[in-house]
Structure formats: structure tokens, C-alpha cells
């Protein structure tokens, strides 16, 4: 069980590195999907199968599909890839790399001094019921706040998308005229 955890974790790290070094956006997103799948396997080895399934359904299945959907509409070409290459000079990596190296060193130090918790296989098993009870017990405020956030997003999207049709297809003109007539009455 421990070996599977390390394999999945290293796949996740490698895939994430590939995400930030790709010049082609779709290829980067494909690696992002692999990274999410690897994280799902990590959840599974830690004894949380419900979280693993949700990770695949929500992140790998829905969110990345939506991002790809937007990127397809931008119609990126080979020239854009070249431009991206010109923008991302290797020396740009130095600053972020140094800063994240400090964080990594800190993380390794903290992991080293902490009492090693029970190994992955001995971790408690978290099923769907436990997740539900936690969400609607101690974390109910968080659930409600995220609900409000999503509601705001939906209202905003509705407001942006709401506009009267300017061009009406000839097949729909009759229907449209009828609607207006009934509205006037």
C-alpha cells in the first residue's frame, strides 16, 4: 500500500511539473488531468475512496473539461505557442524557483521533526457517511459559504449572458413575432 502511495505521489509531482513547463495549453491541461488522477489514487491509498471518486468526477471530469472548453474557443495556433516560448525565458524561473525552494526546505524540516503519524495503510477509513456527517456537522458554515459563493457566480453569469437577440434566424422569426404579439396583448 505504501509503495502505491509513493508511485502515485511521484506521478502527481511529475505531471504537475509538466503542466507548468508545456507551451501548448491543451497539452498542459492533459497533464493536469493526469495530476488530478494521481491525487485521486493518493486519496484511495490513504483510505478515503469517496474523496478519490469525487476528485475524479469534479476536478478531472468537470472542471478541466470546462477549462478546455474555454481554451478551444480562443482558437490558439502555432504562432501562439511561439509567442508563449518567447515570453517564458528560462531566467524567469529563477525567482519563483528560489522562493518555492525555501518553502520546500521548511516543509521537509517540519516533516522531519514531527512525530511520524501512523502509516498510510493504518490510517482510518473515511467513507461517504463520514464525509456527509463532517460536512453537515462541524463544517456546516463552510458548506453554506461556498453555496453563497456559487450562487453569486450563477447570478453573475446570468446577468452577463442576458441580452436581447439581435439577429434572429429566419426559421425563428415567426415564432419570435408571435411571442411579441402575445406580450403586447
Amino acid at each position: 500500500m505504501e509503495l502505491t502511495f509513493y508511485i502515485a505521489a511521484s506521478v502527481a509531482v511529475l505531471a504537475t511539473i509538466m503542466v507548468i513547463t508545456r507551451y501548448n495549453m491543451i497539452h498542459a491541461l492533459l497533464y493536469l488531468v493526469v495530476s488530478f488522477l494521481a491525487v485521486a489514487v493518493v486519496f484511495l491509498t490513504m483510505g478515503a475512496p469517496f474523496m478519490a471518486a469525487l476528485e475524479v468526477i469534479v476536478y478531472a471530469g468537470a472542471i478541466v473539461v470546462l477549462i478546455i472548453f474555454v481554451i478551444m474557443m480562443l482558437s490558439l495556433t502555432r504562432e501562439d505557442v511561439e509567442q508563449e516560448k518567447a515570453w517564458l525565458q528560462p531566467k524567469l524561473w529563477i525567482g519563483p524557483a528560489l522562493l518555492s525552494f525555501v518553502l520546500l526546505a521548511e516543509l521537509v524540516y517540519l516533516l522531519a521533526i514531527a512525530d511520524m503519524p501512523a502509516t498510510a495503510s493504518a490510517a482510518s477509513y473515511v467513507d461517504a457517511q463520514a464525509v456527509g456527517l463532517a460536512l453537515y456537522g462541524p463544517y456546516v458554515l463552510g458548506v453554506q459559504l461556498s453555496g453563497i459563493l456559487l450562487m453569486a457566480g450563477i447570478v453573475g453569469a446570468y446577468h452577463l449572458g442576458r441580452q436581447k437577440k439581435k439577429v434572429i434566424h429566419r426559421f425563428l422569426q415567426q415564432e419570435e413575432a408571435q411571442k411579441e404579439r402575445s406580450a403586447a396583448l
Binding site: I26, P49, F50, V56, I68, M72
Partner: protein
């Protein structure tokens, strides 16, 4: 972890063998069935009842030139057809065909099925995008929008079943239907799952990503040879998968009177739904794209949520009686 006993390997091999052959056989069933419904002959030359058309078709697909257009994005173009077959075959892992005949008895079986079907959307999107062709891209965009929206109700419509069975394990769900098939109390859930299933497999009434008459072949216009064959077989396996899921979740899976063994009941019920899928193709016209989206979000989503709330209320009342 399961040890690889010979019996276990036999189940894996058996499921794989049967599923691939059912998908091939469905080509014949569909073409003869459509012909029957539309009052013509269909393929009847090769072998008895034209059965060898399956062999002829597969040999043709294998030997066709496998051409990758120079303007396509090569790695993604090759990856896309594999995804559809892999995700559908992975989903068969959790289906209990009869007591003991299941590859992996996961306790999150239903969620695994939903996860795999949501990964299946990538094959359409990536295939359409990598082809670098405007018809393919249009098909891919439609496909992405259709699959994301219908996935939402597909998942929610099944939650009623989960509430009543109290488990995500498909074997437990079948056992919970010993008294009464879930299609009776969950009729609304069944109808919504059926519609969402057609949309997920993009079969004819809702085959908007493909729509032969407007987009040529939509997302797989540029594919030829066995890569096209993968999309083709993937679609038939998708129908088989949705039929198996409908039988497992709503029609009591392998349960049936004792005079036939459980596996035969499962095959009979699944076969019935396969024929329904083919009959639907022969009889229904395709809706317009915006009609499909409107129908999904404005009719099916509220109905699904209502079904879920009512089911949850009734289950709570029967268990605790609103203390």
C-alpha cells in the same frame, strides 16, 4: 488486495471477451434491426442472415490506411480514440453480472462508474480539437457542453437509488431490490437516467456531436482505419454499459424467477434495453442543439432535484417517522 487466482483471471478475461464481442455483434443487430423497422432488407449477403458482415467490417477496418492529417496535433489525435475505449471498459469492472461474477466489488462502485463516464467526455473534446478542422471543433464543442450538462442529472438521478439501497456498492443495490425493483418507486429517476444515458453515449436522438447531416461526422470527421473503429466500438460498448447499468440499478440486475440461472436473467434484461436503444434510433428525429440544452437545464434538472428531495423525505419518514 485481491490475489490473482485463476478464477479471478477467468472472470476478467470472460468479461473482456464478451464485451468486445457484444460490441461487434451489435453492428449486425443494429443494421438488421434498423432494416426491419424501416421495412427493408439490410445486409443479408455474407453468411447466414448476413452475420459475417461483422467479420467483413472488422477486417476492412483493420486493413484500411491509418492516416493522420498533417495539420492535426499528433499525440492528442492518437490519444483521443483510446480514451473512449479505456473508460468504457474500465466501467464494466464494477458491474455485477451474477452473484460472484464481478471483477472488482468496489464499495464506491456507482461513483466509479460516474467518474469513468465523465472521463469519457475527453475523447470527444480532444478528438475534435486535435483534428484541427472546423466541423470537428464544432462537434467537439457541442459534445463537451452536452456531456457536462447531462452528467449532472445522470449522477443526481441515481442518488435516489443510493438513498433507498443505502450503499454505493452495485451488488448491495441489486440485493436491496429483492422485494421490489427500484423502477417502481424511482420511475422518475429511471426516465431521467435513460435520457441522460442516451446523451452520454451520444446515440441517435441526441447524437448532436456527430450529426451526420450537418457536421459530416462531427468530432471524428478526420479519423480513419482502426482509430475510427475505436470510436465506433466505443459507442456500442457505451450502449451496452448504459443498458447494464439500467438493469443493475432499476430492474433488479440478476434477480428473477428460479427456472433460469441469474446470469441468463441479466443477459435477457440487458438485451431488451439494447433493442430499445436501436428502436429509438430508428424512430426519433434529432432535436436542435439549443432545444437539447434548454430541455436539460429547465426540465430535467428541476425534476431530478424534486425526485431527490421527495425520495430523501420518504426514506427518512419510513426509517424514523420524523421524530
Amino acid at each position: 488486495m485481491e490475489t490473482a487466482t485463476p478464477n479471478y483471471l477467468l472472470i476478467i478475461g470472460g468479461v473482456l471477451f464478451v464485451m468486445l464481442n457484444v460490441a461487434a455483434l451489435l453492428i449486425w443487430v443494429e443494421r438488421r434491426g434498423l432494416a426491419l423497422f424501416q421495412d427493408r432488407y439490410g445486409p443479408n449477403r455474407a453468411g447466414p442472415f448476413g452475420l459475417l458482415i461483422v467479420a467483413a467490417d472488422s477486417i476492412k477496418l483493420f486493413f484500411k490506411q491509418d492516416w493522420i492529417p498533417p495539420f492535426a496535433d499528433k499525440p492528442v489525435f492518437v490519444l483521443a480514440p483510446a480514451i473512449v475505449v479505456v473508460t468504457v471498459l474500465m466501467s464494466f469492472v464494477v458491474i455485477p453480472f451474477a452473484p460472484g461474477i464481478v471483477v472488482a466489488d468496489l464499495n464506491i462502485g456507482l461513483l466509479f462508474f460516474l467518474a469513468m463516464s465523465s472521463m469519457g467526455a475527453y475523447s470527444i473534446i480532444l478528438g475534435g480539437w486535435a483534428s484541427n478542422n472546423k466541423y470537428s471543433l464544432l462537434g467537439a464543442m457541442r459534445g463537451a457542453a452536452q456531456m457536462i450538462s447531462y452528467e449532472v442529472f445522470m449522477g443526481l438521478s441515481l442518488m435516489g437509488v443510493v438513498l433507498m439501497a443505502g450503499s454505493f456498492n452495485l451488488g448491495d443495490i441489486v440485493e436491496a431490490q429483492r422485494g421490489l425493483w427500484f423502477v417502481v418507486p424511482q420511475l422518475v429517476g429511471f426516465i431521467i437516467f435513460f435520457i441522460a444515458g442516451i446523451a452520454e453515449t451520444h446515440r441517435l436522438p441526441l447524437d448532436i456531436p456527430e450529426s451526420e447531416s450537418e457536421l459530416i461526422a462531427g468530432f471524428h470527421s478526420e479519423y480513419s482505419g482502426m482509430k475510427f473503429g475505436m470510436f465506433f466500438i466505443g459507442e456500442y460498448m457505451g450502449i451496452t454499459l448504459i443498458s447494464c447499468m439500467m438493469v443493475t440499478l432499476f430492474f433488479g440486475g440478476w434477480l428473477g424467477p428460479d427456472f433460469l440461472p441469474p446470469i441468463v436473467w441479466f443477459i435477457l434484461k440487458t438485451g431488451f434495453f439494447l433493442i430499445v436503444f436501436i428502436l429509438l434510433r430508428a424512430s426519433m428525429p434529432r432535436p436542435r442543439y439549443d432545444q437539447l440544452m434548454e430541455y436539460g437545464w429547465k426540465v430535467l434538472l428541476p425534476l431530478t432535484l424534486l425526485n431527490l428531495v421527495v425520495t430523501a423525505g420518504v426514506v427518512l419518514w419510513l426509517n424514523d417517522g420524523f421524530k
